[in-house]
């Protein structure tokens, strides 16, 4: 009975996948209930792009719900909020007018707010909920302002009419709408520097909710950005694409830099969500620029790459969050410094987490590699543009994507290595138990889809290409290679993950075949690890996450601005022996110190100045009323 809500959510997910896939095929349907809500009524439309995101939500909601059945059922309030969350997310990409959009968007935000706040006793949870509520409502204010302005200028609250009327608006009007809607959607997507809520909210929520928030909810921000920059307003000036591209480059790089030095397993994943949103936006930005410059094939490639990475990120990030959730479920901690050695206690979880890590680190032949490769190819098409300024922006994007890939790799070596390998660093980790069956099932499903999406790009790309083509108003691409090899951009580049997988598999077999051939000794020798002359090996001698991250902290010192705390306790007899050493060097956020802190201080000063109006005298308040009345009557 407790798990009925999750079963229902899984059913909704299945229906959403089916319905969305149907929408992707190009059939457009509209449902209008004019009397239900004011200002245009309820209106839902299924088109290819909406269908794509609907299917994506369903795709992530099914395993997340199955996983939730295996974890602790939570309170009734949480289950209800979860159901509302899934349902409202499904409706957002279908909304076809301002009112419907505002209602579904706000329902989604509110439901996720209550899920973030599920632990009402803990201070970090309350703080996370508060920051999330502020950021999401600031975003909503921007969205509503933009939509109402656009509605007033085009004379209709319906998205359908915007498509027809918006391209005729003046440049200033379109730019204003783009900035407002762009800020609102970017805030939900977690683009730097609007990301502050994300590393707080995602760890605070239960893991199946984190998986959905990170896997699909922030993608609805990307959905909105796609609608704004390619659909509702028509083709825009070049700076729209440049803005998205630069935001993507900054988000990917800064997101991964923060992830690298964070030792909270779920917060690390949350920072990686910022990074991956950045990678998606690199594709989107390139598509917007190519679309504006009249390069349809390149625009199609960029958008398809972005959509592919959207699917992939949903798959591997949901998988990783569920894996992290299984770890937290088993050990009760998210701090990597207290984990370790879990691969022996939780082999299934470790295997699935490894697949997710390899995918997010873009290792072939998994799915992350395919979409990042496509993004690279899309960015390299800038040679067709004859504009030096734009080319420099593209090079910036390529460079940051390359650096991001390397750093993400390093980060997941840390995440997997410290969490699952070596000896347990705490009793909780030593006593961990494997996750229950529903959790394992959910993780296995997602791991399998990561592999499938990596091996089958020749099947996936035509579908995504058709969706991208319908957004850009083009004919879908004729051919993208054969069953084995993916060929894009007219033979510019080709990739066969299937061939890579076979080659890798063959390479793994080499020792088994070659060693008997040369008659090498195959006896296994068990021996102790060299321990610097010490006799007993303990977890204290292990490499820590802090130590792993320290070289990066030194290289990017200007960014992290770490502070050092060194605390040594000497042996009372001699200073040459230490009893205990504690070392930490927490990074300081430049966005917190240089952007949000001054902004909040300014707000506080303003509020204090305005507080002078609140004298507490009833007579003065009445005088305000009289003065306002007189002023209004005299001016009228």
């Amino acid at each position: 009975m407790d798990r009925l809500a999750y079963g229902l959510a899984a059913l909704i997910g299945i229906a959403a996948t089916a319905f969305g896939s149907y929408g992707m095929s190009g059939d457009v349907g509209t449902l209008r209930v004019a009397w239900l809500v004011p200002l245009g009524g309820l209106e839902l439309t299924l088109d290819p792009l909406g269908g794509f995101f609907l299917a994506l939500i369903g795709f992530a909601a099914v395993p997340a719900s199955i996983y939730a059945m295996g974890s602790s059922p939570g309170e009734r309030r949480d289950r209800f909020a979860y159901l509302v969350f899934v349902l409202s997310m499904c409706l957002v990409p279908l909304a076809a007018n301002t009112m419907t959009f505002a209602i579904t968007w706000e329902l989604m935000s509110l439901a996720s707010y209550f899920l973030v706040l599920h632990d009402r006793e803990s201070k970090p949870s309350i703080y996370a909920g508060w920051v999330y509520a502020v950021m999401t409502h600031a975003g909503l204010a921007c969205l509503l302002a933009g939509m109402l302005l656009l509605g007033a200028w085009t004379g209709s609250p319906r998205f359908e009419d915007w498509r027809a009327a918006a391209p005729a608006l003046s440049g200033t009007a379109r730019n204003a709408v783009f900035v407002l809607l762009g800020l609102g959607f970017a805030g939900k997507a977690g683009v730097i520097p609007l990301h502050v809520w994300l590393p707080l909210a995602h760890p605070a929520a239960p893991s199946h909710v984190s998986a959905l928030m990170s896997g699909v909810m922030i993608k609805l921000g990307v959905y909105g950005l796609l609608r704004v920059s390619l659909d509702w307003l028509g083709a825009g000036p070049a700076w729209w694409g440049v803005a998205i591209l630069v935001a993507g480059a900054a988000s990917s790089l800064i997101g991964v830099l923060y992830a690298l030095v964070d030792h909270d397993l779920k917060r690390l994943l949350a920072f990686h969500s910022i990074e991956n949103i950045g990678i998606i936006l690199l594709g989107v930005g390139s598509a917007v620029l190519y679309h504006g410059a009249g390069l349809p094939a390149a625009a199609l490639l960029g958008l398809a790459a972005a959509l592919y990475h959207t699917v992939n990120h949903a798959a591997f990030k949901a998988l990783l969050f569920l894996g992290a959730g299984a770890v937290v479920h088993a050990t009760g901690t998210r701090n990597m410094e207290e984990l370790g050695g879990l691969i022996k206690r939780m082999p299934w979880t470790a295997a699935c987490f490894l697949v997710g890590s390899a995918a997010i680190a873009a290792l072939p032949p998994l799915n992350g590699f395919v979409s990042e490769w496509l993004t690279f190819v899309a960015l390299f098409q800038n040679t067709h543009l004859a504009a030096v300024g734009l080319n420099i922006v593209f090079i910036l994007g390529i460079a940051s994507l390359a650096l991001t890939g390397g750093l993400a790799m390093a980060c997941f070596v840390k995440a997997f290595g410290i969490t699952f390998l070596a000896l347990p660093r705490s009793d909780a980790a030593a006593r961990a138990n494997e996750a229950p069956v529903p959790m394992r099932l959910a993780m296995l499903t997602l791991a399998a889809s990561c592999v499938a999406l990596g091996l089958g790009p020749t099947l996936v790309i035509p579908v995504l290409g058709a969706v991208a083509a319908s957004v850009l108003g083009q004919a879908p691409p004729a051919t993208v290679g054969d069953w084995l090899t993916l060929r894009v951009s007219g033979g510019y580049a080709s990739l066969s993950t299937l061939a890579i997988a076979i080659a890798l598999g063959a390479a793994l077999l080499v020792p088994f075949v070659a060693l008997p051939l040369v008659r090498a000794a195959r006896r296994t020798r068990a021996y102790e690890t060299w321990g610097c002359g010490r006799i007993i090996q303990t977890s204290r001698m292990e490499y820590t996450a802090t130590a792993f991250a320290n070289p990066f902290k030194r290289v990017f010192d200007f960014f992290y601005r770490p502070t050092k705390h060194l605390d040594i306790e000497f042996h009372p007899e001699s200073r040459f022996f230490v009893e205990r050493i504690e070392y930490e060097n927490p990074a300081r956020s430049i966005f917190h110190d240089w952007l949000y802190r001054p902004a909040l201080d300014l707000l506080r000063v303003g509020a204090r100045a305005a507080g002078a109006l609140q004298s507490g005298s009833a007579n003065l308040y009445l005088a305000y009323i009289l003065a306002a009345l007189l002023l209004m009557l005299v001016l009228a």
Partner: protein, 213 residues
């Protein structure tokens, strides 16, 4: 009709000024009754001269509600309050000066209305509006809850006069609703004032400052 309405409205304004001037609660209450009766007379006069039967009924209800029921309630509220001596240094001179300003403002504000309307009662419209504004001023300068209630009632009377003069009476259902509103507000205020006085031994609004967070 012009003379009658002008005269009655003028007398009403004079009584209002007297309310501003006087400090003792029973005197102010008596003046409020006088103002209500003058307005009832105004409604009755217009009813007779403009052949509006409905207005006669309104005038009768007005006499009962504002001339008898509400003053009785107000007297009951005020009975616990000692007759306040005129506080030194708090003369009503400045307030009366403000009142004069409000009368001028009322004329200025109502200028477009009186120039557009062709009614025999148009000359009295600014006077009634001034009454309403002075009522608000009474609220602003009121030193205790009783002063606020009285200011509100004077304001309401002014609006009533304005409605009578400008439109010869509102639809019956509106009038009935307004009377009921005022009555209920006064009854609620009575309950609140009694409660506040029991809790805090005072209904002085200055002490509300202590509640400021």
């Amino acid at each position: 009709m012009t003379t009658a309405s002008n005269l009655l409205a003028f007398l009403g304004l004079v009584v209002t000024l007297l309310i501003v001037w006087r400090q003792s609660w029973p005197a102010r209450l008596r003046l409020f009754v006088a103002q209500s009766l003058l307005l009832a007379a105004l409604a009755g006069t217009i009813g007779v001269l403009a052949h509006r039967r409905g207005l006669l009924l309104v005038a009768a209800v007005f006499v009962v509600v504002k001339g008898w029921v509400i003053p009785r309630v107000l007297a009951r509220i005020g009975s616990g309050e000692p007759v306040r001596p005129v506080a030194p240094g708090r003369s009503s001179g400045l307030v009366l000066l403000g009142t004069g300003g409000l009368v001028v403002a009322a004329y200025v504000i109502m200028l477009p209305v009186t120039s557009a309307v062709e009614l025999p009662t148009e000359g009295a419209i600014p006077l009634a509006f001034a009454m309403a504004l002075i009522g608000l001023l009474l609220c602003v300068t009121g030193r205790d809850a009783l002063g606020h209630i009285l200011g509100f009632l004077v304001f309401e009377n002014g609006i009533f006069g304005l409605a009578i003069l400008a439109t010869y009476g509102l639809p019956g259902i509106v009038e009935a609703g307004v009377f009921l509103d005022v009555l209920v507000i006064v009854l609620i205020m009575e309950a609140v004032v009694v409660e506040v006085r029991r809790e805090h031994d005072s209904i002085d609004v200055d002490r509300l400052r202590e509640l400021r967070g």
